[in-house]
Symmetry: C2
Subunit: 397 residues, 2 copies
């Protein structure tokens, strides 16, 4: 029996366990300290009312003989896919029902989509980045090329025609940097991908946070993107579904490689290795896309975006370079005083009891940067900003 | 860009689409015929009361700030894993909490587990079999060896020490044949696997249908199985969760290959490519394992097992060879009159409007056999048996 030896080459990620250890040490020495956590990417607002009602009703249906639902349709229920189609239509993107696959979250599909590709492809991934893109490729022994995201390009790297990539990861609004590609920049990526017959894996998990009209919500707003892109969406942050689990993936009918339809390949993959999303969860997701659901979800997002503005405004006052926070729940800042990411982590924790995420945990280009999230309560975010502003001003003297 | 060319070698499965086409043709010619479907493997009984109540309460929790749950623990909530541990304990099997992984269904995990193994392993799969075992291996270009299941071995093939297998698929109670390994037979497989350092992938999706005390409910009832087996379980048939989606996979701590813990590898795979099962679904699953939940689920299973007995008794009266139906919802019969599987399908559909599944759809050794399921209502099962008995007696003259 031979195991997949690529697993031997995976580095353990100590990022979040190290954070947990440092926080727990700090708390045992400072039992009265009120630690504020701004490191996690999890939401805190509950599901909105119309979602809860739809979810409950669907659970009740499952308890009655006449309304019980067993195995669902392969790509998800039409009622939900119709809503998603309309959602895309609301910002001018025409998606065919057959192109929409309901998932249990963007993370699963972003990992599993690699099943469709040969191991010999050139993989291009931004640095810094959501670690899952790298780890899923390493698990199948794929070599990764990184593109540099840095202050110079506002953490929005653009195509380099000297390098031939086959599979390109883009995440916009970005995790961890919060940076967003505009239409013109994304067009450059689509053109590059089409010229090289590459595939763009487009992670749009944070699209609901976009406010500016020049930032596309979907890569399919860009002409010819359907010939080169797969888009992954999630209700995790949009509607507080981190614990409910539902997302959707768009695989266009026009996406053909070596004469094979990638949509048909994905359908085959999913019908063979997946059995669909819980019926009550799909009914809950449907409610997210109703007019009332959208209004209610918007209110939750507004809470987070108000927090993001508070963080961004504080950093601006402190003249600390940062990106994100405008069309994204993440704020990515340059550590003051020339500190490394972990130096700044220790400084914030030990001086003011605030926990964030060291940027170096997302890749080498993240060194010297730091991620704060806006998913806390308004009160805790305000308190954290007051503490941070005071500490930095004091250190500056 | 190179696609995974193994997808080009996948045969389309026309089994269920051909069935659908034939049924729809029949119905358009016989608009008044009352077709009875005994082909599908989906349940029809609704969720039991205590499951619905727990499910609803958890949905309500998700709507309140104080009780909202975001991302859950990596392997699933402890409250559910504790219940599963106790469930195993109830029939004498000691499983560590760390060995239990909550899944969105056995199908996902049975497919995804292959990520842990090198492509160069010898794969051993029974013929006939649940098609997913083969397709998931073909998708990664693995060669498959088949073991013959047939009337001679009661569709329960045993190890052949002349052949070296690395990864062995066993499904007991079996889909499609309903045949079940007893302790002594399963011990032979465990011994073979340990001698060859092979891994048994044990599909126990139908364990809840086992009544006979000499049929093990888990492969871990067999000594030393923890050194060679991974077990996949599902609440789909146990508790009517086909549309709710929850199962669990047991990866023992003792399962070590090439110095690597397969449990740790699976944890790494799941934390990278999966984000857990919906919190309300896990609360619903917890209720399945309460005393009340078990009693209620048992009542639903009793309905199906009564149907299975009705089918089996009818076939016995007709002196038609069959297996399953005793500790399984499936009945696997030898087609009468020397018919092929599809001949018998056509005969049943056209003569009496009953739909089953041709055995040849599950592999070459299924030719000449036929699968009936007990998941219909008592009334429809009784009606179908009356019709079948009459038709076969008439044809016999």
């Amino acid at each position: 029996m031979k195991i997949n030896s690529n697993y031997k080459n995976l580095e353990e990620s100590y990022l979040f366990s190290t954070i947990a250890k440092k926080v727990s040490d700090y708390m045992s020495f400072n039992p009265d300290a009120k630690v504020i956590r701004m490191g996690i990417g999890d939401v805190t607002r509950p599901l909105c009312k119309s979602v809860v009602t739809a979810f409950e009703n669907a659970v009740k249906e499952q308890g009655e003989l006449e309304t019980f639902h067993g195995y669902g349709p392969e790509q998800g229920y039409t009622f939900l896919r119709e809503r998603i189609k309309s959602y895309y239509q609301s910002y001018g993107v025409d998606i065919n029902l057959s192109e929409i696959f309901i998932s249990d979250g963007a993370k699963s599909d972003i990992g599993n989509i690699l099943d469709l590709f040969d191991n010999e492809n050139n993989i291009l991934i931004p640095n810094p980045v959501y670690p899952v893109y790298c780890d899923t490729n390493k698990m199948s022994g794929r070599e990764i090329c990184f593109m540099n995201a840095n202050i110079k390009n506002n953490f929005l790297p653009l195509p380099d025609y000297d390098k031939k990539a086959d599979i390109i990861y883009l995440c916009s609004p970005n995790n961890p940097t919060g940076a967003c590609y505009n239409r013109e920049q994304l067009k450059q990526w689509v053109d590059y991908a089409n010229k090289n017959e590459a595939i763009i894996l487009y992670d749009a998990a944070y699209e609901a946070f976009i406010n500016d009209s020049d930032i596309p919500r979907s890569i399919f707003e860009i002409e010819d993107a359907k010939k080169c892109a797969i888009e992954f969406c999630s209700l995790s942050k949009t509607a507080g579904f981190t614990g409910v689990r539902c997302g959707y993936t768009i695989v266009p009918n026009d996406l053909i490689r070596e004469g094979m339809s990638l949509r048909k390949m994905w359908l085959r993959r999913q019908t063979t290795k997946f059995n669909g999303v819980s019926y009550p969860v799909q009914k809950a997701a449907e409610a997210v896309f109703t007019e009332k659901g959208q209004q209610e979800c918007k209110k939750n997002i507004d809470v987070y975006m108000k927090n993001a503005k508070l963080i961004s405004d504080t950093l601006t006052r402190l003249e600390i370079w940062h990106t994100g926070g405008k069309n994204s729940p993440y704020i990515w800042l340059k550590c003051p005083f020339g500190m490394t990411s972990w130096d700044f982590f220790d400084f914030l924790l030990e001086t003011v009891g605030v926990v964030g995420t060291p940027g170096s945990g997302f890749g080498s280009n993240g060194e010297g940067f730091f991620r704060l999230t806006s998913f806390g309560t308004e009160q805790s975010t305000r308190e954290a900003m007051t503490r941070i502003e005071k500490a930095i001003k004091e250190k500056r003297g």
